[in-house]
Amino acid sequence: MNKIYKNMFCIVITLLGFLTTSCDDYLNVELQNQMTFDEVFNKRQTTEAYLAQVYGYLPNEYDILWGEGSSVSRSDEALFSWFYGEWESNRSGSWGVTTDAYHNWTNNYKGISQATIFINNVDKCVEIDQNTKDVMKAEARFVRAYLYFVMFRKYGPVYIWGDNASDPLIKPEDIDRHSVDENINFILSEYDKSIAVLPEKITDEAWWGRLTKGAVMAAKSRLTLYAARPLFNGCDLYKGIKNKYGEFLFPQTPDPNKWEEAAKAAKAVIDLNIYSLHQDTQESDPFRKAIKSYMGIYFDKWNEELIWASWQSDGFTYNVRCAPPRVVKTGYGGYCPSLKLVDAYPMGVSGRYPVTGYKSDGSPIIDPKSGYSDEGFTNPYTHPLDNFATINAHNSCVGRDARFYASILANGMNWINTYKGIKLVTFFDGGTSSFSASGDCVKSGYLWRRFSDPANNIEDDKWGQYSWPYYRLGEIYLNYAEACNEKPNRNEDEALIYINKVRNRSGLNNLEVAYPEVKGNQALLRELLRKERMVELAFEGHRYYDVRTWMIGEAESNQPNYTRNVAATNYEDSWERTDKVFPGRLVFEPKHYLFPLHQSQLNEMKNITQNYGW
């Protein structure tokens, strides 16, 4: 028995091993320290943070190189200087279903899902009153609808989840795109729901940039306008395509009444009477005032013309590419307007658009009544805004409208400010911002200056900040004018009134004064409206989609990349027009009206319908 006693401690230890531990406790992990879903939607701060995240999915349309704003670089209004880059393969047509650039499908659907989660859960928050929660819900609802719109304008119709949370168990083979009408109707109905709830103004300055009634109404204006235009309104090209559910993806016949809807939507924004075209109040000289009024849309923050804007805190990425290399300390010089855009600016006195077309050799067909000359120089010439010193100006830069001087930094002009002295900018080979075969230079002969605030001393690393407009009243006026010109019950007077408001702000005469023949001429008014739109909304991300929704891609785009001959070794010769400086063409095939669905989407959803031609 003694032995047993001796061994007792061994037995005890053995048993201890079994008993000291409760298995589940041992494996339990205290994860309480982590934020949970329910907690997020309980508190004000985290609920607001969730909404901020949903806002964060709004596309960056200010980034015109890589972001959603890259439609600028891919359209005929711009000719950036770099040969490499996806934007160039996109322009030259050498891209396809496996090209990754500019696809925003995946990210937009993530945003849509996040917005839905917010909409479906925000009511749980006990720290926020119901009214505010409804507003927040309406904001998320708009963001969700807008993300659908962003895809819609690029891909055409897409799969619509509607108000339902996305279903991770959905069978990939059951998925196809819903029709154009379903897409538009869903987005519009969501817009309407938001309009009903959102406030007219954000009173708390700390929250400026949040959505308002007007913002969503402006969005509705643009969408209804797109819906009325040929691409989404019964064009032949997309006829007959059915999705796997057996529905036609696109409307089979045009419905002119959609113009009526567009006119109504635009007028509704105008009738809010909250917004007005921006006017400079400092300048007394009418032409300088006109220039500054147009410039002020970007430079006067949160001005009265902006219907909805987003804050851009980093002016560097944009403006460094608008700065002439070597003239300023840091300048990449790549953001150049196309020669076509430069040609589009009207003449200040006649109010007529100087170039009516191009000959086969690329030389312009000049409207003789416009007063435009593409030959010779005016020396000395004083820039109407930057009167730092006289310059030897090419005659094409003389006598243009205010927006030309606000937007274009031409060869031979002075740099926009004189913080570091007066600096002449010339782009020819040997000039102050000399052309070179490789490296940073300006190829079209012009730099985009509309975003470069002369108040910014970029050589002192002050690159500026912007309240970048998603929607501004100028666009709405032109939307309205276009719809009035097109709608079955055509209203030419209204159309002229609103296009003239835009023209007058920039110091131009009324359109019917410049073009008396426009009266009663729907087609001419249409053409002039398109010119006006190209000029007024230049580099704001409209041109790419306008060309497509109007379905004028083939006519507007298939041409060599004409530039001024900056490869010349002297200033005078550098004003010749040439297609040698920038080889290649801007290619447009019918399939380019819409983006292809990317191969990875085709792979994962076997039955999804690809766009025409891809």
Binding site: K3, K6, C10, I11, T14, L16, G17, F18, T21, C23, D24, Y26, L27, N28, V29, L31, Q34, M35, T36, E39, V40, T46, A49, Y50, A52, Q53, Y55, G56, Y57, L58, T98, Y109, K110, G111, S113, Q114, V158, Y159, D167, P168, I170, P172, I175, E205, A206, W208, G209, K301, W302, S310, W311, Q312, S313, Q465, Q601, L602, N603, E604, M605, K606
Partner: protein
């Protein structure tokens, strides 16, 4: 092995004993048996002799001369000088002896080859009366016949006792009905009934030889013949090779091991799998248990290993439950044994190492020719004129026209390693110990200049000790204490090894001098200088310290509760500390652009650097606790029912001492129960059931625990009565099969606690009047999946064991493993769902099947022995489900193909002409093609060669076939062994700029292989069958596509180990007080045979830029005291 040799050289040894015995004045002895193998030698040995008037001694000599018989007798027992006449023709020895002793008072006993001569008992043949005390004379010897001095002889039940003399002899007074007990340290006690014997030889058996009969299994040991799981054990001697890490020695050694050594860097180990890769989840590596605790295999010194086995099937691994699916490696370390004196073993090895193969790069002439060729091809002008070329080749102006062999500059031809091992083992009845220490060091092949300030040479060192102590607290209670520590250091270059290799492989010989002749540090404006990277960039020091401790108590309840019941509690605590110090500098460098009028170099500074070492530091560490309590039972009923059982509880906790985030700071925990029941009938029919019930903290509360059962059946046919007649031919025949389910909780994914939904701070937006109000965003993070669980493996195994003629043993197994619930990204969820974080799910499926087999052969003829062994493993896996979207072309599906199957285009050779290009399908990787570009096959017939034409080609980088074979032989003191290892069904894509040409900066980055320089397509020699395509200055993506053109067969056979040794005869070594002294020369990786010639085929590289495997020749000395 040394012991075996002593037994088999019986002739010489017994003659020697005979001489010694002659000097003694003692009586006769009987009863010694050494060998059981030979039967009735005396009846099968025949003599013919005709001796007249010779002495008895002469007769003995004659018999000894003609046979293996040895005579034993003590002086005075018989008259050896008596003259006799013996005439015999083909008679057995007993007939001759009968005649010889006719009429004398001598008699004899033949015991195998020993003939013991004694006096006939005086008086009657009746047994001596039991009560009478008589003198018993005897001798105590060990198995080899060596005398055991100091052995205790006790008369059972009395206090009478004596001890043996220096020669092992004793003398004791006993009654014939009494028993004596003989005991000796380290030997099993023996009790003998005296009876009427007058003299006796008592052979004691060593206690510790149990390993010969048992196999180490999960949580215990089992009799070898009752093993019905798939377990392979290796003799530790076979994996003793003079390298730093034991994992490098496993390749080809065991059936079921798939091993690859991917780098030869000092201190690098190998990757290995048991029966190949069975999952494409996060972890396919086996669980490694050292003394029952999960520990790193490479921290174990092979000299410390007592047993090494791998557990391959469900029945062997089920008790590990959620952690056993990938197989298990079980290592036990040596323990002390009872012995009269400590046994000291010292081993010293010095080795010379040289790379098996270094990449051979183009020399200056080859390179200039190549550069001129591609330059002419693209620009119609030569890059170097003949004059310039001569300037480079002549070495007349090495500053401006350098010509550097970078391989020779950066690397040495050979380097060294050394290893010292010392172990002391011994103990008494109460305490036994095994204490060992070792030191290993290996130098790298980099050849930096050693400076006083610092030394960037590569050098790995490992110091380790191990102390295993067993203490008998009571006769049935044993305490075990294992302590070990490994201290590793490594010194290495200031430049990352991969970068260093990249620079050597890409820097042309003419790019830059090592230094300018005035001592200025050289660096091209673009590109690198390998010499600078090697010598001038500082150095790094790594340090790892691991301490491992274990305490265990075993209680035998045989006398308290029931026979055969034991319980054990084990607790272990391990800690790892690691640190790295990076000491860096970057002195300013210059490049020369010519000479000034005075002939001085015109130097330009690249950029300002620092001449002083800077320091950055990192630390890592972890700690692990293990607790295990178990009870085992083993008993035999009615001599036919053998019953065994095990119940076990364990828990483990691993903690990262330097967690990167809140989640990583949680300890990793496992807990579980396990059980085993075994039953055998007549040791012929076996059944075994195992289970593990355990869990891991990784999973949701209701998903944490799993039950993992397995069952196995075995039939030892050769144990059957009816099989008896076959035994001389087939001495062993066993068939066995097992089935079970095992788990794998190391499932990866990218986070722990996947059941838990996470919210993430993510995104945000800027609001406010001036936009200064950035609002951080919150988004749903990882979705919680409450169903996340382990992978589950369903494993089946059938096997056969066959023994032939007692010499050849064959084992073969077929296995089939189906893995389900592999944790993979849910890729089938379409993007329109908008999951912002892709979720991992237990959806993957994979199967793996194959065979592994091994063969052992042993043969002994006299002094000569021969052993052969071979093993073979083949496995092929395939993915069954991977949740990837269905590809457009069905042949691009990865499902139903091996995991990591190579995919690529099928190359049809090189284009021969423009017409050839025009007539072939359009290849879309390049804008335009030229003759000499690679031509591909249009798989889907769409007239285009693009990504859709990629198909499965070749194998994977992990070999499907692994094998090894070797022989060892010995004769007297000389032993010799060779071992070959090979792999097959393995392939790899090669590539990189040194093979298909650099794009841009060719002058400083464009070095190519010598083989490429010689065998490429050129304008002068437009060979459509050239081994390398047309190289270009321009980007040729067409020629860089993964295709069969770049796919190489990486199979090889190598002479993994060869050893020749000599054991100095005992008669010499005993004089210096040592029992054995062996000297040997051992070679590792001496020869490699492979179709692939550019670098060693086993290395994990497609461009040759990795530290090569080493060929080692080492001299060793092993002394046993």
């Amino acid at each position: 092995m040394i012991k075996e040799r002593n037994i088999s050289t019986s002739g010489t040894n017994y003659v020697k004993i005979f001489r010694i015995m002659k000097l003694m004045t003692l009586f006769l002895i009987i009863g010694m048996s050494v060998s059981v193998a030979a039967k009735s030698y005396s009846q099968s040995t025949y003599f013919s002799m005709d001796l007249n008037n010779k002495t008895v001694k002469d007769v003995f000599n004659e018999i000894e001369r003609k046979s293996n018989f040895v005579f034993f007798y003590y002086d005075g027992v018989l008259d050896v000088k008596r003259k006799v006449n013996i005439e015999a023709s083909n008679q057995t020895v007993d007939k001759i002896l009968d005649k010889l002793f006719e009429g004398t008072n001598n008699t004899y006993v033949i015991d195998d080859r020993q003939i013991l001569i004694s006096r006939k008992a005086t008086g009657s043949q009746e047994p001596i009366t039991t009560q009478k005390k008589s003198m018993l004379i005897g001798k105590v010897v060990d198995e080899t016949g060596e005398a055991l001095p100091g052995a205790a002889i006790m008369v059972a039940g009395s206090t009478r006792g004596v001890t043996t003399d220096i020669d092992g002899s004793f003398e004791i007074e006993v009654n014939s009905n009494e028993k004596i007990t003989v005991s000796y340290l380290g030997m099993k006690d023996q009790t003998i009934t005296v009876g009427n014997q007058k003299s006796i030889i008592i052979k004691l058996l060593a206690k510790s030889d149990e390993l010969q009969e048992v196999t180490v299994v999960a949580f215990g040991k089992q009799k070898k013949e009752s093993i019905i799981g798939a377990i392979t054990t290796i003799s530790v001697g076979d994996i003793k090779m003079p390298v730093g890490k034991i994992s490098n020695n496993l390749a080809g050694q065991m059936a079921g091991i798939v091993s690859v050594q991917r780098s030869g860097e000092p201190g690098a180990g190998s990757d290995f799998w048991i029966r190949g890769v069975s999952t494409f989840g996060a972890n396919s590596k086996p669980l490694i248990l050292v003394d029952g605790i999960e520990r790193s295999i490479d921290l174990v010194d092979y000299e410390d290993i007592e047993s090494f086995s791998i557990l391959k099937d469900a029945t062997a691994t089920a008790v590990y439950g959620v952690r056993g699916a990938n197989g298990i490696v079980l290592i036990t370390t040596k323990r002390g044994k009872e012995s009269s004196k400590p046994s000291i073993n010292a081993k010293v090895e010095f080795g010379a190492l040289a790379p098996i193969q270094m990449p051979e790069l183009a020399n200056a002439e080859q390179w200039i020719n190549y550069y001129n060729d591609i330059s002419y091809d693209n620009t119609k002008r030569l890059a170097f004129s003949d004059y310039e070329k001569q300037k480079y080749l002549s070495n007349a102006d090495p500053d401006l026209y350098p010509n550097v062999d970078w391989m020779k500059t950066i690397f040495k031809d050979a380097t060294t390693n050394s290893k010292v091992n010392l172990s002391i083992t011994g103990g008494g009845k109460v305490i036994r110990y095994y204490v060992a220490g070792s030191f290993y060091t290996e130098n790298g092949i980099f050849n930096p200049e050693k400076l006083k300030a610092y030394n960037p040479s590569m050098r790995y060192g490992k110091y380790s000790f191990r102390s295993n102590i067993d203490l008998d607290i009571t006769s049935s209670t044993q305490l075990a204490l294992n302590l070990s520590n490994q201290y590793e250091t490594k010194n290495r270059l200031g430049t990352d090894i991969a970068t260093m290799w990249d620079q050597v492989l890409t820097t042309p010989p003419v790019a830059i001098p090592t230094m300018y002749s005035d001592g200025t540090l050289a660096m091209p404006l673009v590109g690198q200088n390998p010499y600078y990277s090697l010598n001038k960039t500082g150095f790094s020091q790594d340090f790892w310290n691991t301490s491992q401790s274990l305490i265990g108590i075993t209680q035998d309840f045989s006398d308290i509760i029931t026979p055969g019941l034991k319980a054990n509690v084990k607790f272990s605590w391990d800690a790892v500390n690691e640190s790295t110090l990076d000491k860096r500098k970057n002195p300013s460098t210059y490049y020369a652009t010519g000479r000034d009028e005075a002939g001085e170099l015109i130097l330009h500074k690249n950029s300002d650097g620092s001449d002083y070492l800077s320091l950055s530091r990192s630390n890592r560490g972890s700690r692990t606790l293990n607790l295990e309590a178990s009870a085992t039972y083993e008993n035999v009923f009615n001599e036919v029912h053998r019953v065994g059982g095990l119940v076990l509880f364990n828990k483990r906790e691993y903690t990262n001492n330097f967690p990167g985030d809140y989640i990583a700071a949680f300890p990793y925990r496992n807990i579980g129960f396990a059980g085993r029941a075994t039953y055998s009938y007549k040791d012929t029919y076996f059944i075994e059931g195992n289970f593990g019930y355990n869990g891991s903290e990784n999973f949701a509360p209701n998903k944490r625990f799993g039950f993992f059962p397995s069952i196995a059946l075995g039939y030892l046919i050769s144990n059957e009565e009816y099989f008896k007649d076959l035994l001389p031919v087939i001495n062993l025949l066993k068939i066995k099969g097992s089935y079970g389910e095992i788990g794998n909780d190391q499932i990866g994914g990218n986070r722990r606690f996947a059941y838990n939904s996470e919210m993430a701070w993510s995104g945000g937006y800027r609001f406010g009047s001036t936009g200064q109000q950035w609002r951080d965003g919150i988004a749903t993070g990882y979705p919680g999946n409450p169903n996340v669980s382990w992978e589950s493996a369903k494993k089946s195994n059938v096997g056969v064991e066959l023994g032939l003629f007692d010499k050849l043993k064959i084992q073969a197994d077929y296995f089939f493993d189906k893995r389900e619930g592999i944790y993979i990204l849910q890729e089938s969820v379409p993007t329109i769902v908008g999951n912002n974080v892709q979720q991992y799910v237990n959806l993957g499926k994979m199967q793996n099947q194959g065979v592994d087999a091994s063969m052992e052969y042993t043969h002994t003829i006299g002094d000569f022995y021969l052993k052969g062994r071979a093993n073979f493993t083949f496995n092929r896996n395939k993915k069954l489900y991977d949740d990837k979207p269905t590809p457009v072309w069905a042949y691009q599906e990865e499902v139903n193909e091996p995991y990591d199957q190579h995919r690529g285009l099928i190359a049809l050779g090189l284009f021969e002409s423009e017409a050839d290009i025009a007539n072939s399908p359009k290849q879309t990787f390049n804008d335009s093609l030229v003759p000499g570009d690679i031509k591909y096959k249009d798989i889907n017939g769409d007239g285009m060669i693009n990504d859709y034409d990629r198909v499965a080609v070749g194998y994977t980088t992990i070999p499907e076939i692994n094998y090894g074979f070797g022989v060892s032989a010995g004769w007297k003191g000389i032993d010799l062994s060779v071992f070959f290892q090979g792999v097959d069904n393995v392939s790899r894509f090669i590539g990189g700029s040194s093979i298909y040409g650099q794009l841009g900066s060719i002058l400083v980055n464009g070095q190519i292989f010598s083989d490429v320089a010689d065998k490429r397509w050129t304008l002068e020699n437009p060979n459509p069958n050239a081994e390398y395509p047309r190289l270009s200055m321009l980007d040729r993506p067409n020629n860089k596509q993964q295709s069969t053109y770049w796919l190489r067969d990486m199979s090889f056979v190598r002479l993994k180990n060869a050893e020749i040794g000599y054991t100095i005869p005992k008669r010499i070594t005993q004089k210096i007080g040592s029992s054995t002294v062996r000297v040997y020369i051992q070679g590792v990786n001496l020869l490699t045979f492979s179709k692939f010639k550019l670098w060693d085929p086993e290395l994990a590289t497609g461009n040759g830029g990795i530290y090569p495997q080493m060929r080692t020749v080492c001299f060793g000395l092993n002394i046993n005291l």
